[in-house]
């Protein structure tokens, strides 16, 4: 008699950075929790269904700190159901959703609505609530009430908080509640009318370019305020070498600062925009080779804490327009792991343990998601099983996301998700 609430993952190679595991082990999931991780064969006879993970890595479920699922308000781009289906296909068992929905998620009611079972989410959804009412940058939202409703962080993503005093207060209140303030670091006074990175490519293409300083100056300011308040600043999609240097120095000085990098920023550069390809238009923009090299160095030396996708779906008609008029952003949930393995592991020799750390254990720590990002006994049974060697070609038309705005269509990758398990249930299976 097989116990349907149990699953025994056998013959896989467990990579669990939180518990320093990097070896062949079996994993038993029971009643939505990790029941045991033990030597191969040791868990036989537990009456569970078994899953053969031979040749695969068995990791704590991936956590994406930065996605846009477009609900409420823009279901033509994505819904929570379609976005989380893409997440499951990409190995993410948890996604943290940005508040720039319509209306803006600045209330406990919208936060609860997003988390409600009726949305049909395939993976865990943790909203990041707006830091200011309507993300208008005027008045702070009620962080405590938002946290009680399920928000895990606050941010005005896309509409950076430029006002010093407002940011100071946000960090102060968030520090008391032990949640991070997530900042899209961009001094928009320097980037008005810009559609890509400032550099030789933008000059040649006749496009107004965003200077690195627009990001770095905000990161430096935020670090100073985090130091003053003992608050936790999390830098979203860090993209410039100057901002990276500021984070590196601040960490050494003991400031509570964490940072994420997107797969596209560690893979592509501004030149790749080519002949005005709008699938290479996002914000922050693809930067110079020197910036990309600095980001990779920052990943290798641990300055960067997490890989986050900034999954930003847009409909065809929002991208098939003049470059300057096209929407910013690309999808990313289904290509994150393959890019991390292909670029960081294969090309830059980053160990798989570190990749799992960037995709799972570190994100869990940054947003304080207890019982996630780990395969410790009693943790949530969120597991990602992937084949790090599997070669495959990404076909955007087959994406689970409602939108297909990706620069990686047709790319051949190494590394593919085989199975995604959320709370003990298999939500994606190759």
């Amino acid at each position: 008699m097989k116990d349907m609430d149990s699953l025994l993952i056998v013959r896989g190679h467990v990579v669990d950075p939180a518990n320093s595991l990097d070896q062949e082990m079996d994993v038993l999931l029971r009643d939505g929790r990790v029941a045991a991780v033990a030597a191969p064969g040791a868990l036989r006879g537990q009456g569970a269904r078994s899953f053969n993970a031979k040749g695969c890595i068995v990791a704590p479920g991936f956590i994406d700190l930065h996605v846009h699922l477009r609900e409420p308000g823009q279901p033509h781009k994505e819904t929570i159901a379609t976005g989380t289906a893409a997440a499951a296909a990409g190995g993410f068992t948890t996604v943290c959703t940005m508040p720039n929905t319509v209306p803006v998620n600045d209330s406990p009611a919208i936060t609860r609505w997003m988390k409600s079972a009726e949305r049909g989410a395939l993976v865990n959804v943790f909203p990041i609530a707006a830091a200011t009412v309507g993300s208008l940058g005027e008045k702070l939202t009620n962080f405590a009430a938002l946290k009680r409703a399920g928000a895990v962080a606050v941010s005005d993503d896309g509409k950076p908080i430029l006002d010093d005093r407002l940011m100071l207060n946000a960090l102060r209140v968030a520090a008391r509640l032990k949640i991070p303030v997530v900042q899209h670091a961009e001094d928009t006074r320097m980037t008005e009318g810009c559609s890509m990175n400032l550099g030789p490519t933008s000059f040649r293409l006749g496009l107004h370019g965003m200077p690195n300083a627009a990001e770095a100056s905000v990161v430096e300011r935020d670090i100073a305020l985090a130091r003053a308040t003992k608050g936790h600043i999390h830098v979203a999609h860090l993209s410039t070498r100057e901002a990276l240097e500021a984070v590196r120095a601040a960490k050494k000085a003991g400031v509570r600062v964490t940072a994420e990098v997107t797969p596209h920023h560690f893979t592509l550069v501004d030149k790749n925009v080519g002949e005005y390809n709008t699938h290479f238009k996002m914000n922050p923009p693809l930067r110079s080779s020197a910036d990309r090299e600095a980001l990779i160095a920052g990943i290798l030396d641990g300055t960067i804490d997490a890989i986050a996708t900034d999954h930003a779906p847009h409909a065809f008609h929002e991208k098939q327009v003049e470059f300057e008029r096209a929407a910013f952003g690309i999808t990313g949930l289904e290509t994150a792991l393959p890019l991390a393995i292909t670029v960081l592991h294969q090309h830059f020799q980053l160990p798989l343990l570190r990749i799992v750390e960037l995709l799972s254990s570190n994100p869990a720590k940054i947003f304080g998601l207890t019982g996630r990002g780990t395969l410790a006994k009693g943790a949530h049974a969120d597991v990602t099983i992937f084949d790090p060697k599997k070669k495959w070609t990404f076909d955007a038309s087959q994406s689970r996301s409602k939108s297909k705005n990706t620069p990686f269509d047709g790319w051949t990758f190494s590394g593919k998700v085989v199975s995604t398990i959320v709370g003990g249930n298999v939500v994606h299976q190759e």
Partner: protein, 304 residues
């Protein structure tokens, strides 16, 4: 190899051979003698931005070669109603256009059109990016006065940052071995402008830049752009206006060019615009010849 041309989107996509072929053909074109070279061809002029000389010269060029033209502008068309560029392009092509000449305020708009619309596209100016027919007619004008482009010192003066004329000319001239010098206030001539092509330099002191110049090319300077960059009008005029005194810093046989429209008293004085070194009218005349050559090449009639 036959220098075939499918579309003309920017100077960067042209080979040296194609540029030479267009210039050679342009020299043989005579706008005063109508022909039937492009009889039965329909050329749509899709102009999202206002234009006098470019639009008129493409129209005259097409009609002189026996083609018919039609003008499509945002006002009193479906563009006004929110039709996308791709849909407008498809519509114009489906109506029977054999080629589309487009001017657009957004850099790169021609690439979008060319990706989705199967008829040949000619870029008549896209945002701050390119204005290839202007660079070609300028090259034609220069070569009528100078033996070759190689080794010439060409000083381009003014708002280089916003100028598709500057980008196209720098691209074309540097490929033929000319030394291109950008001159203007730092906001109009940022250091990054020198990355445009090999042999391009910047010199913020116009009096230095002009020394030994073979060609002085003034660009139009828009008053509102000065204001946007915090440049005082009187400072601009004092430092960068082309005056008869400044022209004397260039070589005695230097020529003065301007893509138009000229704002007299701003980027240059009337004495210079109407002076003996001015080639401004010649540029306009060469515009028709050059565009005749471009259209002929585009329809595969370049070998005539």
């Amino acid at each position: 190899m036959k220098p075939q041309l499918h579309s003309l989107l920017g100077v960067e996509q042209l080979t040296i051979g194609q540029i030479e072929a267009i210039l050679a053909l342009a020299r043989r074109m005579d706008p005063s003698r109508p022909s039937q070279l492009l009889h039965g061809k329909r050329v749509a002029l899709l102009f999202y931005e206002s234009s006098t000389r470019t639009r008129t010269s493409f129209e005259f060029a097409a009609k002189t070669l026996g083609a018919t033209t039609t003008l499509v502008t945002p006002v009193s068309s479906s563009i006004e109603k929110g039709e996308s560029l791709i849909d407008t392009g498809w519509t114009v092509a489906a109506l029977g256009a054999d080629a589309i000449v487009m001017r657009h305020a957004n850099s790169g708009a021609v690439y979008l059109l060319a990706r989705y619309v199967r008829v040949p596209i000619i870029n008549a100016g896209d945002g701050m990016h390119q204005h290839p027919s202007q660079a070609l007619l300028d090259a034609l004008t220069i070569t009528e006065h100078k033996k070759k482009l190689k080794g010439l010192r060409v000083v381009i003066v003014g708002d280089v940052y916003h100028s598709r004329v500057a980008r196209s000319n720098a691209d074309l001239l540097s490929r033929f071995g000319a030394d291109v010098v950008f001159s203007g206030p730092p906001d109009f001539v940022p250091e990054i402008a020198t990355t445009l092509a090999p042999g391009v330099t910047a010199c913020h002191d116009l009096n230095v830049a002009l020394q030994g110049a073979d060609v002085v090319m003034a660009l139009r300077v828009q008053r509102e752009r000065l204001a946007g960059k915090d440049i005082r009008l009187e400072d601009y005029i004092a430092n960068y206006q082309i005056t008869p005194q400044r022209m004397r810093l260039a070589k005695p046989d230097a020529i003065l060019m301007h893509p138009g429209p000229v704002i007299r008293g701003m980027e240059l004085t009337s004495e210079v615009a109407d002076g003996p070194q001015s080639c401004i009218h010649e540029q306009v005349r060469n515009g028709v010849k050059t565009r005749m050559a471009i259209l002929a090449m585009l329809f595969g009639r370049g070998a005539a």
